[in-house]
């Protein structure tokens, strides 16, 4: 059963269309991420589900009930904001108990549930403190406790990790996913951070300019991008013009710039229909640099020159030139990285490539 269903949702602000006709089906208990750059419509979509915005067109169903005209305080949703939005004049316990008060939960029962929620977010002893006495990460845990203590039908998270430091953000991401799995609540998570989306989601909804570009599990969205936008937004990709010239078993054959003929697995070219112009997508980490003259082992190999070396510690990002084409490659560092100006051999396994129709 689906928990949240959006049917042909449109949101216009006067002349500007923030969300074009969008339909989405979010299964019960799923962790679904709306991913995209700022202004792509992800937060607008979340706010419509929350009831903070009215859709211009279309229907929103939560647990099979149409909620377009249901005010936010009757939707039974847990909302977590980027800036925590804890009530500064109330103690942590009062903050967490806030939603229970409006659900007529008896005092004794409420106290028990508040304590359980605080235990769940691993902050059992802070009930008497005030929000400003806690760190950012702790405040966000409390905001989460406040949202889940009411046992919401859907948990809505609006960039909840963006205000945290990088290290803390990664810890919180694991923590958040653990809590979500434990209570099994259907969750819609909004972020512009691809690594958060890839790490946490059951399904990723990639959005751009108010439209859904692709919906799928993380590996699928990452490995088989449905559009050039998705290929560029998640990870780093090289996108080369190519021609679809036929097929060979379960591979499609592409004649690409620079690399010549490449046999891409058909599963990684699902949108490629007829023969004709196409695009070859090569993930930057799938392009391996090898010293010139290293024996080739069933891979494609072309000669290239290293132009820029961007050292990142465990990995290094190279910009290399092969003919007229500049390519990006991200390699783990084995011994020493190549230096600028080095002549190298670029290696690529065709099965790591994906193909897109020419736009």
């Amino acid at each position: 059963m689906s928990s949240v269903t959006l049917t042909d949702i449109v949101k216009r602000f006067e002349a500007f269309t923030a969300v074009h006709k969008t339909s989405l089906d979010i299964p019960d208990g799923a962790f679904v991420t709306l991913l995209g750059p700022s202004g792509c419509g992800k937060t607008t979509t979340l706010r419509m589900v929350a009831g903070l915005l009215d859709p211009t067109e279309g229907e929103i169903l939560i647990k099979g009930r149409k909620v377009n005209d249901v005010p936010i305080h009757k939707r039974n949703l847990g909302l977590v904001f980027q800036n925590y939005a804890l009530f500064p004049h109330k103690t942590i316990a009062e903050n967490v108990a806030f939603g229970l008060k409006y659900r007529g939960v008896a005092k004794e029962d409420a106290r028990k549930r508040v304590q359980e929620a605080l235990d769940l977010v691993q902050l059992p002893g802070v009930g008497d403190r005030y929000p400003k006495q806690l760190s950012g990460g702790q405040q966000q845990r409390i905001a989460l406790a406040r949202a889940i203590v009411i046992e919401p039908d859907v948990l809505l998270l609006d960039e909840p990790l963006s205000a945290l430091d990088a290290n803390l953000r990664e810890d919180m991401r694991v923590e958040l996913k653990r809590i979500q799995e434990r209570i099994g609540v259907t969750t819609i998570f909004v972020t512009h951070d691809q690594s958060e989306a890839l790490a946490m989601s059951d399904q990723i909804v990639v959005m751009s300019n108010g439209r859904v570009e692709q919906v799928g599990p993380p590996e699928q969205v990452y490995n088989t991008p449905a559009s050039e936008f998705v290929a560029n937004f998640l990870g780093a990709s090289n996108i080369l013009p190519a021609r679809h010239v036929g097929s060979d078993g379960d591979a499609v054959l592409l004649d690409a710039d620079t690399f010549g003929r490449v046999a891409v697995p058909a599963a990684k070219a699902p949108n490629l229909a007829s023969e004709g112009p196409a695009k070859l997508v090569i993930r930057a980490e799938k392009l391996q640099l090898a010293p010139s003259g290293t024996p080739v082992n069933g891979e494609l190999a072309i000669d290239a020159t290293v132009e820029t070396v961007d050292y990142q510690g465990q990995a290094v990002r190279y910009f290399v030139r092969a003919g007229h084409t500049q390519l990006q490659a991200i390699n783990m560092i084995d011994e020493r990285p190549f230096s600028e100006g080095a002549q190298v051999s670029l290696r690529l396994r065709p099965r790591d490539c994906a193909a897109l129709p020419a736009s």
Partner: protein, 288 residues
Amino acid sequence: MSVERREARQPWILLSPALVAVTLLLFVPLLFIVVYSFWLRTATGADQAGFFLDNWNEALTDGFYRDILLNTLKIAAITTIVCALMGYPAAYFIARSRGNKAILLLLLMLPFWISYIIRTMSWINILGVSGAVNSILISLGIINEPIQMLYNETTVILGLVHFLLPFMILNVFVSLDGIDETLEDAAHSLGATRWQSFLEVTLPLSLPGLAAGGLLCFVLGAGTYITPLVLGGPTDAMFANLVFEAIITQLNWPLGSALSLMLLAVLGALVAIYNRYLGMAQLMKGLG
């Protein structure tokens, strides 16, 4: 000189012009007034220097002064409450309006471009015997004779509200503007209605601004003498009018000094109580 010492001196250098002005123009004259209040006005009209408690005795024991002081505090209190009730919704509206906040604040400041006295006197043209309201009512045939609406306690309060409302709105606005709007969304999403969210979250968080605006309205209202002079009747004198009367009309500076210090002490006590519980920082925010 070390950097630390130079930095430690800097605030005092920056403050010194203001400190000189405040000392010469406020504290020194105030000291004169304190000294004056112990002098005595003789039957000939000349002031006799010395240490006499006669003025203080009169100011503190005469029931006339006490009644007017109490009435002054009452008028200031009513004015403050009316300003709070009228100002809060206006401040809320400005704080929550999107693009045109700056224009609304400018409109709020607009009355300050006109002298307070002229603004007070404008009510004569509106409510006077030949004022706008009476003229309209007569021309509509609702009344035959003009109604006497001016020169009573109500018009004094009206004039004070007119004068003080922007101070209230500004203070409440500053307070509301600093409250994160997502707090109300959060309360709302947790099951509170819009009104409940306001009562539970926004109102308590804006109380410091309301208190600052209230203090300002009360102190300025209680210290006024122009409004009762222009819009009040013969029995509507406020305490500052007594000071004015003693010093300007009767030329009795010693008694006027004692009376003015009495008002200063009462209002000063109020500010001290406010400072004790809420701190002056909020008031400064509202003024700046």
